[in-house]
Amino acid sequence: MSAKAATPEIKSFKDFMVFIRGELRPKGNIFTPFNIISVPVILLGAILIAYRMVKGLGSITNLSQDFPWGMWIGFDVMTGVAFAGGAYVLTFVVYILRIEKYHPIIRATVLNGFLAYVFYAGALVIDLGRPWHIFNPVIGNKFGLSSVLFLVAWHFILYMIAEFIEISPAFAEWLGLKRIKKILASLTLGAVVFGITLSTLHQSGLGALFMMAKGKIHPLWYTEFIPVLFFVSSIFAGLSLVIFEGTISHKVFSQQLDDEHRRSHSDILIGLAKGCSGAMFAYFFLKILIFMHGRHWEYVFTGWGQWYLLELIGLVLVPCYLFLRGAMYKNLTIIRIAAILTMIGVIINRLNYSIIAFKWYIPLPAHYIPHWMEIETTLAIVFAEIWVFRWIVNRMPILRKPPAWET
């Protein structure tokens, strides 16, 4: 696919429709292993979601009166949003600090963040018991101003808009709209400032949701600093995902990249690894401080204590060191391993708050374990997101250089 194809001449509505129809057609081989796996999963997921809408949440989930929040909140929303944190961190680095080194990956990261919000925060819709009331807090069918969730809901919506503005120049370039691109690009800085502010608040807000679950979350995890911990961990969660996603995109979409981008790739990953390492050390230090002040030594030698230490040492301190080592010796393999360990750590951390260490006093047979249909629908949502991401990357200047229009 040449770069020329991406800058069509659209003069009338008819041209536009012809162009869109052309773009909707699949590009490349249809029967790839990913497609063969993902299509049935997405179709089954759609059927299950339809079934759930008719029969109620209990029909395909293991949620109960004791466990009102399960995998869809704990994994899709909590973890998905943490992983989407790379967008606000990198927009800060590129647009506020103006470190140009990271410019080649900014669009892919923002697009990924935007889609993560649309799909994973969107997964909230199937988790809501009465989803047709989802806009009540927006249209003012009562503003629950004292609710942390009210803040999180508003921030999700506003942040999606901010991220869409950040990524919109790519859409304008795709459609060949030079004037509109210029206008949209001029909004970027405002959207970035707004987006970082919103992210700070709703990343920590997701943690603050659990403040009123005092007594239900194991004392090793419950602290008044949950919001700060969620915010700091979203920095390295996001960056690890950028490293992971960048590594895959680099292989899958390699025809999109120019030589300059390819050369800078390892340099970018090393820089991100340093950032991750720093953020993780700060997080580790915070966790230690909180542990010392919490005085929960009596739990350390229980099974829960070991689970806590596995998370803190094995999936925070170890990857923190690996990132540092990988950056020092410029070893990308170590950096990638560290990124994967970090991501596992973040998943476990978010699941601890929402599921695993939530009502830790209820032993296993009665404790919540996700139903296979909850896992299936989650997979369907992840695959659907990848489909849209791939569709956009193959058509718009996300990874490849934007057209050189005079500004």
């Binding site: 009166q65 600090l97 009331h133 508003w154 400032v193 603050a208 403040m211 239900k216």
Partner: protein
């Protein structure tokens, strides 16, 4: 400052400003407090008088169109029951140091309820009369269930149009200045209806008159900041299924720290970021100029 930078800064400022009232309003986690704190209504449960007849369960079901239980069936006491989507109140039997004790369980109707502070559409509401009620503008997020220290809100998982089910202290009756159905039905006068202030005084009186009969604690006087339902007992409360570790702080208070930080971040962050951006931009320009020379 050229026009474009001015417009951008102005735009960001405007966005910040539009959000500020939103944030400032979130400060009010205490808005769930009803004025005249002690004056709302409540129920005192004297567990020493309860005989486990379950008339309250029957009356409750009748008053709220729920399936009416067969109260002559004693086998239900074999296991501990929780309230459910079809049972807003249940009576359990406990083996204690002073023999069998029956205790009624239902929503405690906190003075400052966690569920009310949690609700993002105010579907959960603390009424002036004392009831904590649920309304149909609920979106079904179940955050009230996560935030309730007593795990009281129950969700209809098997309905396409689920509701939150919980005791509403017969709010329909209270508005007509009538007593709740369970209180009406109790043959033992184990349930006493009145203002919370009266009930606290009555409890103190009973404990004072019979100091050896009662443990010297009124459950709900201080728990989670005070509740509309109050309990007195002859045995320590942990023996009759009460959570004794909930603390005396009202649950909404746990989120105020975070909510206070919201307007600060919303106002200071954009200013800080814009300033930083301005600095790096100037540096870039100076750097370019330097090379040019």
């Amino acid at each position: 400052m050229d026009r474009r930078i001015f417009l951008k800064t102005f735009g960001a400022g405007l966005l910040g400003a539009t959000c500020t009232p939103l944030a400032a309003a979130s400060l009010n986690a205490r808005e769930s407090i009803v004025p005249g704190y002690n004056e709302f209504m409540g129920v005192l449960v004297d567990t020493t008088l309860c005989i486990g007849c379950r008339s309250c369960e029957e009356a409750c079901a009748g008053a709220h169109n729920l399936p009416v239980p067969n109260i002559s069936d004693d086998s239900v006491f074999k296991e501990m029951r929780d309230t459910s989507v079809t049972q807003w109140t249940v009576v359990n039997r406990y083996k204690t140091e002073k023999g069998e004790v029956f205790a009624k369980k239902q929503c405690m109707h906190c003075g400052q309820p966690g569920c009310v502070a949690a609700c993002l559409v105010k579907a959960m509401k603390k009424r002036e009369e004392g009831s904590v009620t649920w309304d149909t503008n609920c979106m079904g997020c179940r955050y009230c269930m996560v935030s309730c220290p007593f795990d009281i809100p129950k969700f209809e998982y098997n309905s396409w149009n689920p509701r939150i089910q919980k005791c509403n202290l017969c709010w329909e009756q209270l508005r007509k200045r009538e007593r709740p159905a369970c209180v009406e039905a109790c043959p033992q006068e184990a349930l006493l209806f009145g203002t919370r202030r009266e009930l606290v005084e009555e409890s103190r009186g009973r404990i004072y008159r019979e100091p050896k009969k009662y443990v010297h604690h009124i459950y709900g006087e201080y728990e989670v900041g005070g509740t509309s339902y109050l309990y007195i007992s002859a045995v320590p409360f942990e023996q009759i299924g009460f959570k004794t570790d909930v603390g005396a702080i009202a649950y909404p208070e746990y989120t105020t720290g975070f909510l206070y930080s919201v307007p600060i971040v919303l106002i200071l962050w954009p200013a800080f970021l814009m300033g930083l951006s301005y600095l790096t931009k100037r540096e870039e320009e100076i750097g370019r100029g330097g090379r040019g020379r």
